[in-house]
């Protein structure tokens, strides 16, 4: 049996890249709080985040053998032939990284180098949504389902290893997949998987859409493999079968979401893309989103590439890669020119990012302060974490810093009013006045 290095053995090579890579050059580790090189784990692989010629890459290294090992290189070559725009560029590099094991013996090992799409991985998006409001969660689920439907219509492969670390919600509004080393094409002789990925994804999305309370528990493990997902579905709906794709597509709620997903090209004025919220429903026609009133009349014409549900009178919309916020009259409270927007109806604060800087706005779209931040979190107990010059602190609804930006890492305040923070590698808890607990 082949012996694989440990995470720490690989990390040593990534942190000391000189002479360690056979073909890759200009590799620089990306640190994250608490670890000198950021990484994620996915089953049998450790995936390091690095810069390569200034662009972000993921170097995926093997930790343990799996029965599917022989398929990985084939799957990645197959994916390259597909040239699908939703698959992030990726290379399988044989004998690429030279790693010393803990006995001091060195050897070359294979790795998979993937260009990281400009956006955020699904797990981070999920965390953001889970901390946000119900409407945005449901909206996301519908969009995710739409993505699955579009894949069913346009893509001829199954990813087979879908989880929230390898699905990227991109800045351009698209979804891209990484880590597709188990990819298969139905009928390619490698797998008899008949779009199980789509089937299960659709089931998950539907289960979550109809049970939004499940969403908070929907972490990485929920998506960690198709088998687990199937089992979870069986747990949620005991005695039920995991449906075939065809059965799902015949189901009314999905069919109404997107004509392409249902294989239905009938021309209609519009299709409902969601339930009614505050008197208006998000509707879609020929790929454009608008809003319809309860009587069916189009209240806001189809003009957006995406439209979220109304919450406290405001809804997020997207055109191209830019976001805006509209009211029920279709007026742009914030113009459609922001990179990201978070509308916290509970707190009456809009957090919006333009040119990489976040500002706080009131519900009328007026800036509440001139202060800007490099990154922001979600409000919890009236405070949100904010980042400035690489350090984290907490601001209130008026964008006033109530706890200074002195921390290397923070979490949001929990229900008890405590947040976990880290300074110089030391992690501890603080209260809402910034006092160490």
């Amino acid at each position: 049996m082949k012996k694989y290095p440990s995470i720490n053995d690989y990390a040593e090579a990534v942190l000391n890249p000189e002479g360690r890579f056979r073909t890759l050059s200009d590799i620089k580790a990306i640190a994250s709080p608490g670890v000198p090189v950021s990484y994620t784990l996915n089953q049998d692989r450790v995936n390091f985040r690095v810069l390569r010629h200034g662009m972000e890459y993921m170097l995926s290294c093997k930790l343990a053998p799996r029965p599917t090992d022989d398929r990985e290189e084939i799957a990645i070559k197959m994916a390259a032939d597909l040239a699908s725009p939703i698959l992030a560029p990726c290379e399988y590099l044989r004998g690429e990284i030279y790693v010393f094991d803990d006995t001091g013996a060195g050897r070359y090992h294979d790795l998979i180098a993937t260009e990281i799409p400009a956006g955020i991985p699904l797990y981070r998006h999920l965390a953001k949504l889970a901390a946000g409001n119900k409407n945005s969660r449901e909206t996301f689920l519908r969009n995710y389902l739409l993505f699955a439907g579009e894949m069913a219509a346009n893509e001829a492969f199954s990813h087979n290893n879908l989880n929230p670390t390898n699905v990227f919600v991109c800045n351009d509004g698209q979804t891209r997949l990484t880590d597709y080393r188990l990819l298969s094409i139905p009928g390619d002789g490698l797998s008899d998987n008949d779009s199980l990925f789509l089937t299960v994804t659709a089931l998950i999305a539907r289960a979550l859409a109809s049970n939004p309370e499940l969403f908070r528990g929907c972490g990485e493990e929920f998506f960690s493999s198709t088998e687990i997902m199937k089992n979870r579905i069986r747990e949620i709906f005991p005695g039920s079968e995991v449906l075939s794709l065809q059965q799902i597509l015949e189901d009314t709620p999905l069919k109404t979401i997107h004509p392409a997903a249902a294989g239905d090209t009938r021309q209609t004025d519009y299709e409902f893309s969601g339930k009614q919220h505050e008197g208006l429903s998000s509707v879609v026609s020929e790929g454009k989103f608008g809003y319809a009133a309860a009587n069916g009349r189009v209240a806001i014409p189809m003009q957006y590439d995406w439209g979220g549900d109304f919450e406290e009178g405001l809804a997020l919309v997207r055109r191209g890669g830019e976001m805006g916020l509209i009211d029920k009259g279709g007026r742009e409270i914030l113009p459609i020119e922001y990179e990201d927007i978070s509308w916290s109806a509970d707190n009456g604060v809009i957090l919006a990012c333009r040119d990489g800087k976040w500002r706080f706005y009131d519900r009328g779209g007026n800036p509440v302060s001139d202060d800007t931040f490099d990154n922001v979190g979600e409000f919890s107990r009236g405070l949100t974490w904010v980042m400035r010059r690489g350090k984290y602190g907490f601001a209130n609804r008026n964008a006033r810093m109530v706890i200074p930006a002195i921390y290397d890492d923070v979490t949001s305040f929990n229900d008890e009013g405590y947040a976990s923070v880290e300074v110089a590698g030391r992690r501890f808890a603080i209260d809402m006045k910034g006092k160490t607990i």
């Binding site: 720490n8 040593e12 942190l15 930790l63 006995t103 060195g106 493990e221």
Partner: protein, 287 residues
């Protein structure tokens, strides 16, 4: 049927109990990582690297997950004590990760494939500090490990947990009990179980400095020196379950690992590393 196949999740975690001999003989010098150091120093370094890897494997995007409970018990002189900081004996990966410990930068000179030499720098946490003093109360330590493993299996009774793995590292013989008593307490530990299998007990007997005749995972006593102590360690140790067989085969060259026991005799520092890598192979079973 003992499966040793349970996936390790937060709901169904597992446990590692490391037992480390801290008796006076562990002061003896050995060669490790290119320099001379005490056995206790080398073992502490190896344990720290093992803990570092377990903790690293438990890291996820939302923090460290409690896939394992981890204890490190030292025994030497009259002392049976946890070698990890804090009042608790079992620690979770999250607690270990966030624990304030001494850290050290390790500089290793590496010969690269192109012939150049390069210095690699890594920073490691030192949860366990070396210690070496007094006699070898291994019997009392085994009883402590039994209590911990029992407490853990009772707490997780009815769960599909991969059973706890107890790994004992020593360079001596128990000074507080007869061979018969040692065999009995080892059997007691191995009799504990979860729904996935019995607790596993591995024993690593460190060689005197300079010996290169270590035996790992023997399938019979015949592979070991013909001494009562070697036979005792063989009898005390668990048969290696199927899930370990690939790794055991790779390290021993055996195509058939049936009957192999989790024991190593006259182990070098490298053998200890290999034993611990295999003993903690369940880190690959995490969901």
């Amino acid at each position: 049927m003992n499966g040793y196949s349970a996936r390790i999740t937060r709901k169904n975690p597992s446990a590692f109990i490391f037992m480390v001999d801290t008796s006076g003989s562990m002061e003896e010098k050995v060669e490790f990582n290119g320099s001379a150091m005490s056995k206790s120093g080398a073992v502490a370094s190896i344990i720290n690297a093992t803990l570092g890897e377990i903790v690293a494997r438990c890291r996820r995007e939302d923090g460290y997950r409690d896939y394992f409970d981890i204890a490190v018990i030292g025994y030497g002189g009259d002392d049976i004590r946890s070698l990890l900081p804090g009042t608790e004996t079992f620690h979770t990966p999250a607690r270990l990760a966030l624990m304030r410990t001494k850290t050290s930068k390790i500089f290793k000179t590496r010969a690269l494939p192109d012939g150049r030499e390069a210095v690699a720098v890594t920073e490691v946490k030192e949860w366990v500090q070396p210690a070496a003093l007094g006699k070898t109360p291994m019997y009392a330590a085994m009883n402590r490990a039994y209590d911990l493993a029992r407490e853990w299996t009772v707490k997780h009774s009815g769960c599909e947990c991969f059973p706890p793995v107890v790994i004992n590292i020593t360079d001596g013989e128990a000074t507080d009990a007869s061979d018969e008593d040692m065999a009995k307490v080892a059997a007691k530990i191995r009799s504990l179980d979860t729904r996935d299998g019995n607790v596993l007990l591995f024993n690593i007997y460190i060689s005197s400095a300079g010996r290169q005749d270590g035996v790992l995972f023997p399938a019979s006593c015949g592979e070991l020196p013909d001494t009562p102590h070697a036979r005792l360690l063989f009898d005390m140790s668990s048969p290696v379950p199927e899930v370990y067989s690939g790794a055991v085969g790779a390290i021993t060259g055996k195509s058939d690992t049936a009957g192999c026991r989790g024991v190593s005799y006259n182990a070098s520092m490298t053998d200890i590393i290999n034993m611990l890598n295999i003993g903690t192979i369940s880190v690959n079973l995490m969901s």
